[in-house]
């Protein structure tokens, strides 16, 4: 299947970005829609989807997975992110791994969003400035999950780290190579339309395996602070959906009408009005004929 090509692109994009980021002591990037940057869009209820981490030990002669350490960073990420976003005036709910795995429907939804996010974030990482024109959208996968969680927005986070051993660092000095790094990225996905509202990333260089193993919270604090440096503080006066009509793509629904009211309304319309169809499809020839 062609997931491999996506996989390759994703890997190349991630690697390229991270190598670039890791070459600096600390670096960050932030990209937002104009509405989010101006404070016209501020989610009141955000949920963090369980972050996914990939951690490697970079030795002089080989590279090894650090799976347990990845779990440590994933666990630390939620607490750190909630703490740092709270300092900026946001409330963040953390969706735990246990909550997800206890509910088969929720698990399927989270898996679907993760699949969609990882497939489509590749383009966003190539042209992050296009977030300004709302080019990136995670579709129904984001909308159904946000509704299930009763969230205005979802945060999807990815963590990548590589701890360079002493031998690798020596080799890096001699012939070049990685000195280790840790990086985090966060996508803020609007719950009502699935748009990528904002994307923040941050990285720090010179990372050892021991640090990743023993100090996951400190590592996460550092990279999260770097990533969130320019995350706009919450403006209490800015209300959810304020000024959204400026964006023609965004539907403003009359939330006053409950589901039951809408359904009753439709039942009544069927009873009162004739069976005339609002529009009829045009007659079209079978596709085989057209293609000939």
């Amino acid at each position: 299947m062609s997931n491999s090509s996506r996989c390759g692109n994703f890997a190349r994009a991630v690697t390229g970005l991270l190598v670039l980021l890791a070459s600096l002591p600390a670096s960050a990037g932030e990209f937002m829609t104009p509405e989010f940057a101006r404070g016209e869009y501020r989610p009141m209820s955000m949920v963090l989807i369980p972050p996914l981490a990939e951690v490697m030990k970079d030795k002089a002669t080989t590279t090894e997975s650090m799976v347990a350490e990845a779990a440590g960073l994933e666990d630390a990420a939620g607490l750190v992110l909630r703490e740092q976003l709270r300092a900026k005036g946001y409330e963040l709910r953390i969706l735990s791994v246990d909550q997800v795995n206890a509910d088969p429907v929720l698990r399927q939804m989270v898996r679907s969003l993760n699949e969609r996010y990882d497939a489509d974030i590749v383009q966003a990482m190539k042209k992050p400035k296009d977030i300004r024109i709302r080019r990136y959208n995670f579709g129904d996968e984001a909308k159904v999950l946000a509704a299930r969680l009763d969230a205005d927005a979802l945060i999807v986070s990815r963590i990548t780290a590589s701890g360079a051993t002493g031998g690798q660092k020596t080799m890096a000095v001699l012939i070049g190579g990685s000195m280790g790094y840790a990086a985090v990225s966060m996508g803020l996905v609007a719950g009502d339309n699935g748009d990528l509202e904002a994307f923040f990333d941050g990285a720090v260089g010179n990372m050892s395996p021991e640090k990743l193993e023993r100090e996951p919270k400190e590592v996460m604090s550092k990279i999260t602070a770097t990533a969130l440096k320019k995350f706009p503080a919450h403006d209490a006066a800015a209300k959810y959906k304020k000024s959204w009509p400026q964006n023609s793509d965004r539907k403003v629904q009359d939330q006053a009408a409950s589901d039951d009211e809408v359904l009753m309304d439709l039942e009544a319309l069927f009873e009162e009005t004739p069976e005339a169809r609002v529009a009829e499809p045009e007659e079209v020839a079978p596709v085989e004929e057209q293609m000939d």
């Binding site: 002669t61 629904q253 809408v262």
Partner: protein, 451 residues
């Protein structure tokens, strides 16, 4: 073949995991490198491969990627144990798991864990084909291929460092020479893996025979792995492929089967007739997974197969309807299998540059798009109608019809179907989206009737 999720999972260390992807490339006819099928003692440094394998299992569980169908896993375990040899080392224990991933893949970890993706088991037709797959992966474990590949990689990396340093010290052409040696070593690493893959295939034949499975099914696995309904799998150049060419693998396994004495073949079995019945629920889920991943042609092929094998099951027809809707403006008749490698690469490039919405919008720009869309909607409608004839309570068929009528502008019909869907499935996961549609429809009807 690895997908993005696999990368996120940290399966990037090629030497650690031996996979059975649909990658294609050239191969030698006789393997030169061989696995170790006796006891292999590990150094303390190598033992991390075993520890990491155990941690990997926990990670897959934690991320909800291990499939919840324990009955199917238990059955895989029975088949796998009939093929597996006695473990030669304390760190080996053969265990068979189902991984929720639509890519057609399987992989083995050095401690004996073997994972089969839902996207592969869903496409297999017989128990003997599953046995072919498991036997291949078992040989990676039994032959300590992961450990040997790790050792090989370390040796070559150490040599690479030596040449890099020597080259850097020499400067000028010396540096270039060091770089070239490194490139050669990388190529050699990939070649080594390819030979072990071939060995796993050939020894798999022996295990199949011993367990009494029909070896004439072996080559069909490679035909299934070679299917490319979307036209997105160009051939990978020989030196850079970790696996022998699928066509070649199909050929040598077919030749092995043909060389088997008739009296031996006569006693072999395809396996339990219940294979497809056991796999069917997973296959129906996999159709949905292909649609979610935007592989509608692959979804449609699998859905059609499900209809063919049980035309009285509404689920297969619903899956067919969903697949046709997912096609959008893309034709089911496009001959992706006939595309040249260059054309496939071009398709991959386009797909990597555009977002999903942009890809769909691009398809809608074609002159025949309108006709194709209506054809797909009509085919979907027919499939849903059959599903409802078989099972009036097939809620998803109503949802699908609601979507079709909405796209055609038939608001009343759409509303009726969507409301029926919500009545049948009050806790539908996509209820909020359906309700948004119904709000729009109510508004449209009011506007049209002047209310």
């Amino acid at each position: 073949m690895m997908n993005c999720k696999s990368i996120v999972l940290g399966l990037g260390v090629a030497s650690l995991f031996c996979c059975l992807p649909a990658a294609q490339g050239a191969a030698e006819t006789e393997p030169k490198q061989k696995g170790e099928y006796g006891q292999v003692d590990l150094t303390a440094d190598e033992y991390h491969l075993i520890e990491t394998s155990e941690e990997m299992h926990d990670q897959l569980e934690r991320r909800g990627l291990r499939h919840s169908n324990r009955r199917l896993e238990a059955w895989m375990q029975t088949i796998g144990q009939s093929l597996a040899p006695e473990p030669t080392d304390f760190y080996q224990e053969y265990r068979f798991y189902l991984l929720h991933d639509p890519s057609p893949n399987a992989f083995a970890l050095p401690d004996g864990q073997i994972y089969v993706h839902t996207g592969l088991i869903s496409r297999l037709q017989t128990e003997a084909q599953l046995a072919t797959l498991l036997a291949h992966e078992i040989n990676h474990v039994a032959g300590h291929h992961g450990v040997l590949a790790y050792r090989s990689q370390r040796k070559k990396a150490a040599a690479g460092i030596f040449f890099s340093i020597a080259g850097a010290l020499a400067g000028g052409w010396g540096e270039v020479a060091g770089l070239m040696v490194n490139v050669g070593l990388v190529s050699s690493v990939y070649g080594y893996s390819r030979e072990l893959e071939q060995e796993a295939d050939i020894k798999g034949y022996e295990r199949m025979l011993q367990a009494g499975y029909d070896v004439r099914e072996m080559h069909k696995l490679f035909e299934i792995l070679g299917q490319d309904f979307e036209g997105l799998n160009p051939r990978i150049g020989g030196k850079w492929s970790t696996h022998p060419d699928l066509a070649l693998r199909g050929q040598y396994t077919a030749e092995l089967a043909a060389s088997t004495p008739e009296e031996t073949l006569a006693g072999l079995r395809l396996g339990d007739d219940s294979f497809r019945r056991r796999v069917r629920p997973v296959a129906l889920e996999t159709v949905r997974d292909y649609i979610l991943a935007d592989y509608p042609k692959t979804a449609l092929e699998l859905a059609r197969y499900l209809v063919t094998e049980d035309s009285d099951d509404a689920g297969g027809h619903v899956a067919t309807g969903h697949s046709y809707i997912a096609l959008g403006a893309r034709s089911e008749f496009a001959a992706e299998a006939q595309l040249t490698d260059k054309e496939k690469k071009q398709q991959v490039k386009i797909r990597s540059k555009l977002t999903r919405d942009e890809l769909h919008a691009q398809a809608e720009q074609s002159p025949e798009a309108k006709t194709i869309i209506e054809h797909n909607l009509a085919a979907a409608e027919a499939a849903y109608r059959i599903a409802l004839e078989l099972d009036q309570g097939a809620a998803e068929a109503h949802a699908g019809l609601g979507e079709i009528y909405l796209r055609r502008g038939l608001h009343r019909d759409s509303a009726r179907e969507l409301m029926t869907y919500l009545k049948l499935r009050p806790d539908a996961p996509d209820r909020n989206i359906v309700m948004d549609d119904l709000r729009d429809i109510a508004q449209q009807i009011k506007t049209a009737t002047g209310e």
